[in-house]
Symmetry: C2
Subunit: 282 residues, 2 copies
DNA sequence: CAGGAGCGATACCCGGGCGGTATCGCCCGC
DNA sequence: GCGGGCGATACCGCCCGGGTATCGCTCCTG
């Protein structure tokens, strides 16, 4: 199977429409139909159920969609990492670290300081990204290391090392009835009719249904809370640097959050190894 | 990058010789040279240092070799898993479980029994393989689940669940001076001049240097020990079913061995999930 | 030191396959 | 019943991947 075929299949499987997929790929529809047909013939199975109105995935098609995405990520990662290796040889070598924007700032700063103090440390390019984006960056080679947060982020498929564990707090607008309490139970904040929990985007960019407002980053979140339109439950470390018009109340029964450093298996470049060492040394 | 290019590059990087690589790929040498050249041009970097006698990998080339192998495994896995999904839809569905030959027999039997008793259990095809082979089978899609043994096997890149932990024993021929001791220290058996530790093959099939005899499987190992040509340190469970002319002596200071069940991340088919459940339920 | 062998690069040609346009066949909705 | 939407098919042209022949370079060798 060639990556071209995989790219074509993923496009059709995502669009569920040959015409749109072809447009997205920048080719005409007939070659696309033929490519998918050839793939199906060689695999000896139907991948797409052609109805008169659009198409649907078969069981085998669903499996191939999942596997093809992983394979294409791996190919992309190969290209990116090779390019970076070439760059590092003839210029300034660097590692790319992905971290969730607005989380673990303090830990991150300490980590960068500790690593920079190591002999032979290279430059660290920090990429701040939306929640849940780190895994993708690591998979497709745009990042070499990432800070993830269990149980929110999926650490499957990576090597990880635990760095820090902490409880969670509810962030509320100053003046809210609950904001004066010494602590609250999780159930009390998850279904406040006046302050619903916000909805974060899924990996594909769409939002789950629900009453809460849609948020994409930390600024939007704090702003919405300040406006009295939402509340949130976040790790303790999120209270540092909180706006004046917000308060944080501990939620003892919320699950603990563990910050971990993660890297792709078998890619212990000396730089990544150094970062991991610096992170765990403390 | 197309998988064809990756396959070509891996062939040359492994052979370090364009002619041989071309023969192995079943093509002529000139198209291979051109393909690699094109790859280098598009990546904007040299991947291979052409000396007058053969070639050598550059830094970027070494990175691409590692990444390309992973990517090709992923593509192969995509194809195999799709084929199996298609087969499962129209015939007898099955999961493939990889296990080291001659290890964890008892645990494996119990696991299979426990799973078979579950409602909706499908057939389990057990693939017994050489040590260290399981990870490869899992990576390239020939297996869906595997039993691995930490710290011997590399579990990086998989989801795992611990099943069992045990100490190790030294296996010696009956009559050996150490065989009557209640226990021995690891250092005592690792450098016996008369009974060297055997050498296991590396993933690429070659053997490390050393005094011990080369072994490829469990039968060869026991036979060599019985012949008085080697000794071995193996998990306790290896003493069950030992030949009469061999004895096992506990080695308390040897690292504990943990048997884990592993599966590729994000591939929790119901069958794999059932197996994991059956394995961890006890 | 000249000759030859080994190895990768280059030159050139051929054919298959990929992509394009035109059109068909089918099903659904009005 | 008819038109429109959608995927499949037919057919064509061109590019690119693969083949053969040959070159250029570097060692080794007698």
């Amino acid at each position: 199977m060639e990556t071209r075929e995989l790219r074509y299949f993923v496009a059709v499987a995502e669009e569920l429409h040959f015409g749109r997929a072809a447009r997205r790929l920048g080719i005409a529809q007939p070659p696309l139909s033929r490519a998918i047909g050839g793939l199906e013939r060689r695999l000896g199975t139907l991948l797409l159920e052609r109805g008169s109105r659009g198409v649907a995935l078969t069981g085998a098609g669903a499996v191939l969609l999942r596997e093809a995405r992983a394979a294409l990520d791996a190919v992309e990662a190969a290209e990116r990492r090779t390019r970076r290796a070439a760059l590092a040889a003839t210029g300034r070598p660097a590692v790319v670290l992905a971290a969730k924007a607005g989380a673990s700032d303090e830990l991150l700063a300490k980590l960068l300081d500790a690593y920079a103090a190591e002999p032979g440390a290279v430059a660290v390019d920090v990429v701040l990204c939306g929640p849940g984006e780190q895994a993708r960056l690591l998979h497709d080679g745009r990042a070499d290391v990432a800070l993830l947060h269990r149980p929110f982020d999926d650490t499957a498929g990576f090597d990880t090392e635990d760095l820090h564990s902490e409880g969670q707090v509810a962030v509320l607008p100053v003046g809210h009835p609950l904001s004066v309490r010494p602590h609250v139970r999780l159930a009390e904040v998850t279904d406040l009719p006046d302050l619903p929990l916000p909805r974060w985007p899924r990996p594909d960019g769409t939002f789950p249904d629900g009453p809460g407002p849609q948020v994409r980053d930390h600024t939007q979140l704090t702003q919405l809370i300040a406006l009295g339109r939402a509340c949130a439950v976040v790790p303790e470390s999120g209270r540092t640097g909180l706006r004046e018009d917000l308060t944080a109340v501990p939620v003892p029964d919320a699950p603990h959050v563990t910050t971990v450093i993660a890297w792709p298996p078998h890619s212990r470049s000396t730089a990544v190894a150094g970062l991991v060492r610096a992170a765990t040394a403390r």
